[in-house]
Symmetry: C2
Subunit: 388 residues, 2 copies
């Protein structure tokens, strides 16, 4: 996956980026303090340079960094700094406009318009913990959050009084949560995920100290159920926790949920011996609108579904939705450590603006356009790796 990403990174993105306007000189104002507005030399200079990017974790390279200005007793200096900050922001905005125009390669829906939400931007809105448990902090948007959750529960056919969920910070949090719920339901369960699953799935396995079996994929990128079966047979004594991809990041492959369930059944795994988490980071939301696509529904024996909010719905900040069965969260709540924590989310504090955006963008005119946008988005995504 990392390799695919790299091949792509050198190519598509840079070649499509137009140079910034000619009168744009990022170093013009305060030379000493000012690094390039955008990180990539290729863009700032208006030329295309192809270079291999090294991926070295734990490097701490200050390729681009805007210093936090320190207080100064001298008012004149302070005034200059104020002007400096204003100019940095103005130029940053300009670069965002350019980059947003040409951010080909990521399946983001940037078709959002939220004029009506602008009035709420300066409030510090925080949805603390469980969306269904009241908190002391009054400046929240739980009423919008629960409305959005209801909408998704309906989409995936889970009754209002049978689901639990929350608006996450991103698709990764959805995966981290879904797999954690699976592990809490089956503490000795083994995690099965196809090799083309998002990296957060394997990160979860490591974080949670779970045994993990990487399953082969078909050429299409779908999970290879023959290999899945073989691996299940090796561990018949332990419950199975399965990550099913509803759209992999690299090939946009959709695992055959029905075949996965059938394989489990054929191998002797009864419904009380497995937990399926559907990573629908992008397609989980589109699938119901695409004809003949494998259906994601809680009428099938699945445990949780997560999607990214910022990708298909379009939202100015990363966010996602996680829906699971209420019974699983009830199982967690019998655990005293979890009770003490008063919430079963991963993050304690959650951005209260995200539910507002989702609530607002899931409005009739936009939802009506989903079916027509789905195939187009789906094609855009193919062969591109998107972040979760």
């Amino acid at each position: 996956m990392a390799r695919n990403f790299e091949v792509f990174s050198g190519e598509v993105n840079l070649e499509k980026v137009e140079p910034l306007p000619e009168d744009f000189d990022p170093t013009a104002i305060i030379k000493d303090l000012l690094p390039p507005v955008v990180c990539n030399d290729a863009i700032v200079n208006g030329k295309e340079k192809k270079k291999e990017r090294e991926i070295v974790l734990g490097r701490n390279v200050h390729t681009a960094c805007l210093e936090v200005t320190e207080p100064d007793a001298d008012d004149e200096v302070t005034g200059e700094r104020e002007a400096y900050m204003a100019s940095v922001l103005a130029r940053y905005r300009k670069s965002l406009i350019e980059r947003t125009k040409h951010h080909l390669g990521y399946p983001y829906n940037l078709d959002f318009d939220y004029g009506a939400l602008a009035q709420l931007q300066h409030f510090s809105i925080n949805n603390l913990g469980d969306p269904f448990i009241e908190s002391n902090y009054g400046v929240h948007s739980r009423q919008f959050e629960v409305g959005v959750l209801d909408w998704f529960a309906r989409l995936w056919e889970l009754e209002k009084n049978e689901y639990w969920g929350y608006i996450t910070n991103c698709g990764t949090e959805g995966n981290l949560h879904g797999i954690l719920v699976g592990r809490e339901v089956y503490p000795d369960g083994i995690l099965y995920a196809s090799a083309e699953s998002h990296y957060s799935v394997f990160k979860a396995a490591r974080m949670y100290r779970m045994e993990c079996e990487k399953v082969k994929t078909l050429l299409s990128g779908e999970i290879d159920c023959e290999d899945f079966k073989a691996k299940l047979l090796l561990h018949k004594d332990k419950p199975a926790i399965i990550n099913v991809n509803i759209g992999t990041t690299v090939k946009g492959a959709v695992d055959d949920l029905d075949l996965v369930i059938q394989t489990l059944e054929e191998t002797g795994f009864t419904h009380d011996r497995f937990y399926i988490h559907c990573d629908g980071a992008l397609f989980g939301l589109m699938m119901p609108f695409v004809k003949r696509a494998p259906k994601v529904t809680f009428k099938k024996p699945i445990g949780s579904v997560s999607v990214s909010g910022h990708k298909f719905v379009g939202c100015p900040m990363p966010c996602g939705v996680q829906i699971t069965r209420l019974e699983h969260i009830n199982a967690l709540s019998r655990n005293v450590e979890y009770l003490a924590s008063r919430d079963a989310t991963i993050m304690g504090s959650r951005n209260g603006h995200a539910p507002l955006f989702l609530w607002y963008t899931l409005k009739p005119e936009r939802v009506q356009r989903f079916p027509e946008r789905s195939p187009e988005m789906s094609q855009e995504c193919t062969l591109l790796e998107g972040p979760s």
Copy 2:
């Protein structure tokens, strides 16, 4: 902790809330669809009702929920719904103003003014993964993020080329990360945390399947180093991972970092046998400005420090900062699973607006006011539990 929280919840918050304006009728417009704008009856009706709140995890109670409106073929209906949404938002804004005015009980700094940032609000800014590794997604704010991180590294006296960190979604993510780094450095380490530590610390222990020793506290809420010593002596054979509180959520207690280190040394734990994570959700940022406060610095043998950005600095969305030693992240990177993930953060996608707010709010005039605000904020926090 939960009990303290409850005692407080019934009292301070509600009694200080003024009723909404008399002409404000939340049910006036579309009666069927519209729940109260604020969850709590006590406020909407302009009366104070005290009631015990039950804390039951896994309940799915729709006390307040704003439905997502569905598409409708009838244009007239669509028009009405548009008007409905606009009115819901307008009234929501009104309730936010009220609640923001009277949100006593949470140590949030709401003294922010970010006029200059308004121009950036509609961009979908996403800092994917490691702040120091370039990503394909161009619409990011890494250059601001790294600037903020540099500032914090300087505050806690860690050299620019010796730290690693990132802007988190909240204090909880900082704790989850710090403790995970500790566990990766010492896989068989035991987690020690005082009973008054934030619940995310114990959540981490459970998530990461770590053995955890809850240490007693003094009356002040500080960790009891006598008990700490006794518990250390029980597990001399295993490394120690310690969560040190720089301001507990309930009593605002600051663990004596120096005494914790001394206790470790006296018990025979050499510096290569322990890892200290400092949970400075709120005070980690204030302490350097408060005279005679215990100093948080990487010149002492600590492994990581985290703070909440939205509390003291003031920021319209939850966020935080996590700083650790580069050498620890390098240790992680030698692990192949981590390498594959290309980033050592917990969440893959991160809100790119948060770094902009932090960068902007850490400007001279505001930083200059920190010392004078610190004692005041510190007092406000005492005896109140804040979210992380």
